[in-house]
């Protein structure tokens, strides 16, 4: 193999001269982090809301949430992303569509990716919230109601605090997945980490170094998130209660 390794390439300047190739990588990392974190917030909000709706007695509300989950789970993420980016701007009211198209291209890509990733992951969070709620004994709900709580109060003070603690491990997986899935946004041109990796391959002709660097960065993200979530789990653990198992 007559490949010429050159790890110093990261410190070389890019053609525009404004930054180094390492700088490109780091900017890609920034975009990945910003996209994943903002999508995660959307996912948590949507997932919590839909997960609660899935478990209420009202059949209409429960059905709407089920519909949301099935739609977002049965269409590939890439297809969903393209629909948000190419289709939505065309079929929403003209004023909204035009306002969107007038945005800077980066913002257009970022917004589409953020909403897409958020709602996609939200469907999965919903199913976990639902299973967390269902894993609680029905007596907890009765106990809350018997004290005079309304059903919303029972969810807020009794059911959700325990359900969320129970699902912290699978929620951690979903959080990790969001960072990985954010790479799909490279297909609509968003210059996140994977896209920058590809740029580096194109510009530097040092594909191995570029890809190894990007892979290592993804693995670092993975490890950091896992450590953080373990800390969170340890902090909210209920004394005397074995990891949430009944």
């Amino acid at each position: 193999m007559n490949y010429h390794w050159n790890w110093a390439i990261f410190l070389a300047n890019t053609p525009s001269g404004r930054t180094t190739y390492l700088g490109w990588l780091l900017s890609g990392l920034e975009v990945t982090l910003a996209l994943s974190l903002s999508a995660w917030i959307i996912a948590l909000l949507a997932g919590l809301l839909m997960g609660v709706l899935r478990t209420v007695p009202n059949r209409w509300l429960s059905g709407i949430a089920a519909f949301y989950v099935e739609v977002f789970r049965n269409i590939p993420l890439l297809v969903q992303l393209f629909i948000w980016y190419f289709v939505l701007p065309e079929i929403v009211p003209v004023s909204i569509g035009d306002a969107y198209k007038a945005l800077h291209p980066f913002l257009q890509q970022f917004l589409a990716a953020m909403i897409c990733l958020g709602l996609f992951t939200g469907a999965r969070v919903c199913e976990q919230v639902r299973s967390g709620i269902n894993s609680l004994s029905v007596g907890q709900k009765y106990a809350g109601l018997a004290l005079g709580f309304t059903l919303p109060q029972t969810y807020r003070y009794v059911i959700l605090p325990m359900a969320i603690r129970i699902i912290l491990p699978p929620l951690t997986s979903e959080f990790l997945n969001i960072f990985k899935n954010s790479a799909v946004a490279s297909t609509i041109g968003l210059l996140e980490l994977a896209a920058q990796g590809r740029q580096l391959v194109d510009y530097t002709a040092q594909p191995y170094e570029s890809f190894i660097a990007v892979t290592v960065l993804f693995m670092i993200i993975n490890t950091v998130v896992m450590i953080l979530m373990h800390r969170v789990e340890a902090r909210v653990r209920v004394p005397g209660h074995m990891g949430g198992e009944q």
């Binding site: 709580f149 325990m162 004394p239 209660h241 074995m242």
Partner: protein, 242 residues
């Protein structure tokens, strides 16, 4: 205070309660007993509207439980309930378990709620555990906390659904003692239980249920000395031979 008139409930094709009627006056201590599956737990859960019923009427202090216009949350705030599996909230300390409904439902201030809670914990002998979490307590301790939690709402009556059935034998008495104390103070109580010793001590009436029906409803001495129905006789002979 509690009036149950011709209540029937079915789950699909299964008849859970059939034409049940009973009257509970203020200060009454009613023990409901019967074989498993006789509907006793369901009946008591109908009293505070936790279980819906298809026919009949239940009124607590004149307020109809089955009426769709009734604010059930307000009603339940004044009816205390104690569950077989204690059902303390595991993510809250003991003192918080007692205070949360006081503050969020009755609107008391935190200071007021804590004071009331500490008095009640002291009464059931658990003041020193106030800052512990339910998972750190034994079953008997948890159930006493559960009783205190229900009492913190200053209820007009208390419903008990097999309060000692999930307890190890050596912890049953500590809970029964609290319940006896309550009865002697004049609390109106409906207690689903197998503990006949408790019934003999403080109950003034015993209701015997079988297969969803109220088979007997008699003053306590009458029930134990001369039960009228054959089913009740069989039941008593089986459980009193311990």
């Amino acid at each position: 205070m509690i009036s149950i008139k011709n209540v029937s409930k079915h789950y699909g094709s299964f008849q859970v309660l059939a034409d049940c009627s009973a009257e509970v006056k203020k200060g009454d201590v009613i023990v409901i007993c019967g074989p498993s599956g006789s509907g006793k737990s369901t009946l008591i859960k109908c009293v505070n509207g936790l279980e819906p019923f298809q026919q009949g009427a239940i009124a607590v202090n004149g307020i109809s439980v089955g009426d769709p216009k009734t604010n059930l949350s307000k009603l339940r705030a004044h009816v205390g309930m104690v569950f077989q599996n204690f059902e303390l909230f595991p993510h809250m300390s003991v003192i918080d378990n007692l205070c949360i409904a006081q503050t969020k439902v009755l609107g008391r201030s935190r200071a007021e709620a804590v004071e009331r809670a500490r008095k009640l914990l002291d009464r059931v002998g658990l003041l020193v555990q106030a800052d512990k979490f339910p998972g750190q307590l034994s079953g008997g301790q948890q159930q006493r906390v559960a009783i205190a939690r229900a009492l913190a709402m200053d209820p007009i009556c208390m419903l008990f659904d097999e309060p000692t059935s999930a307890l190890d034998p050596e912890m049953v008495n500590e809970v029964l003692d609290v319940m006896v104390g309550l009865a002697q103070e004049g609390m109106t109580m409906m207690v689903v239980t197998h503990e006949m010793g408790f019934a003999r001590k403080v109950a003034n009436r015993v209701i015997f249920m079988d297969e969803g029906r109220i088979v007997e409803d008699a003053p306590e001495e009458d029930f134990f000395s001369k039960p009228r129905s054959e089913r009740a006789q069989q039941f008593l002979s089986k459980i009193l031979h311990h």
